[in-house]
Symmetry: C2
Subunit: 242 residues, 2 copies
């Protein structure tokens, strides 16, 4: 609990006022960046001290994070960073294939020039970042592409669902990605997607997305383990003290 306290405090002082929204954003980002590993305890008072607010605000933020599936909130117990199981990981990917495929299909041929340009810019940025080995930047660009799809979805309900699923898959990718191989970069997938969208070929766009997500899932290490992570989360070995 000590390591990130100072950093976050510094970030906080730079900003102005803190609301539950800010806490949600910061914690979500920290989980995504794996600065808060699964199972990490998130006591309300500690979080309150870190952000300089009282428990009321923290509680609201934690409730929201729970509804976003980022943390696990159980009655009378400390909130913890969620650790989705392997099974749930597979299910999340399947759900995202379904939803994002549909969004892409709906979007094919219906993108205005401005959005199209932004999409292309992000795709170029991703390739460039990959070229210079800047993995965090590459991830940012990749995420930006998918978020653009979600935001521009003609069906806002599906768009919101997709936003949620992008977050959840990002978390499990960080959790289960194999340590060694280069990264989760799938050369050309995003470019192919853009082409299909521009041509207005709905089914092609859907297929590109499905293939892209299947490849992404295949890059993960989803072999059944001895429930080490799950036990960690359930039995609650505290690992943040000295």
């Amino acid at each position: 609990m000590q390591e990130w306290q100072e950093e976050v405090l510094a970030e906080v002082r730079a900003g102005s006022r803190i609301s539950d929204r800010d806490i949600v954003d910061k914690v979500r980002r920290a989980v995504l960046m794996q600065r808060l590993p699964p199972g990490t305890r998130l006591p309300e008072v500690t979080l309150g001290e870190v952000f300089g607010v009282s428990r009321s605000v923290v509680r609201k933020a934690l409730t929201r994070l729970a509804s976003e599936h980022v943390v696990d909130q159980r009655p009378n117990q400390v909130a913890r960073v969620r650790a989705p199981s392997i099974e749930e990981t597979r299910e999340t990917f399947a759900a995202r294939r379904l939803v994002e495929g549909e969004v892409a299909a709906l979007l094919a041929g219906h993108l205005d020039a401005a959005s199209d340009a932004r999409l292309a810019a992000q795709a170029r940025g991703e390739i460039e970042a990959h070229g210079r080995g800047d993995e965090p930047a590459r991830i940012e660009h990749s995420l930006a592409i998918h978020h653009l799809l979600a935001e521009h979805s003609p069906n806002r309900v599906l768009g919101a669902m997709l936003t949620d699923l992008i977050l959840r898959t990002s978390i499990v990718i960080a959790l289960y990605k194999r340590p060694n191989p280069a990264s989760c970069f799938l050369a050309g997938d995003h470019t192919a997607l853009l082409a299909a969208l521009e041509q207005g070929d709905a089914e092609a766009a859907r297929e590109v997305i499905r293939h892209h997500l299947e490849s992404l899932e295949a890059l993960l290490d989803l072999s059944p383990r001895e429930a080490s992570i799950d036990l960690m989360a359930i039995l609650g070995r505290s690992r943040e003290q000295a």
Copy 2:
């Protein structure tokens, strides 16, 4: 605010202790049953008095209801029962067709005998209730069928999404259903679904669901109005006083 206060108070006294979960359930149900029309103000203190708890509990309940899309919570403003627009209604139906169709397809041929029997019992119950003109009972049975699909979804993530979509479509059905015609009963649809599920025909099951939901949507009055409902919700004409 007066009409439902006594009723709910009575229900409350019958039960034992009240938690935020209970409040969420009761309010959700009241919205579903149209005892709390769209736009109704839900001040924290009033709700607290009704349920005999303090604002802390009510706040948590309202936050959850907001994340379920049942109420609208805006900064520094009273929470109100949400009134989804016609456009959102269409989008919600489209999303549900996609998700429930997939769930049904996944479920085809994978139902155990017990669940199968319960499904069949609910389908029979629905027909019977329709026969004797008991509309509320008919709705209960119909909802039970779809909830069973969601609960038994092999993909739990999709199942949870479906649960959410069933709730949201129920709300908009209550909102936009035409007053005169018999009801939203589509004879045989559920029976056809059961048949497809038993035979293990995934694509048939998906198609039955899609057709069922399209028919359901077609029964609603989704003609563009003069934004009466939306204005009502936005301008906040209070209609619960005397």
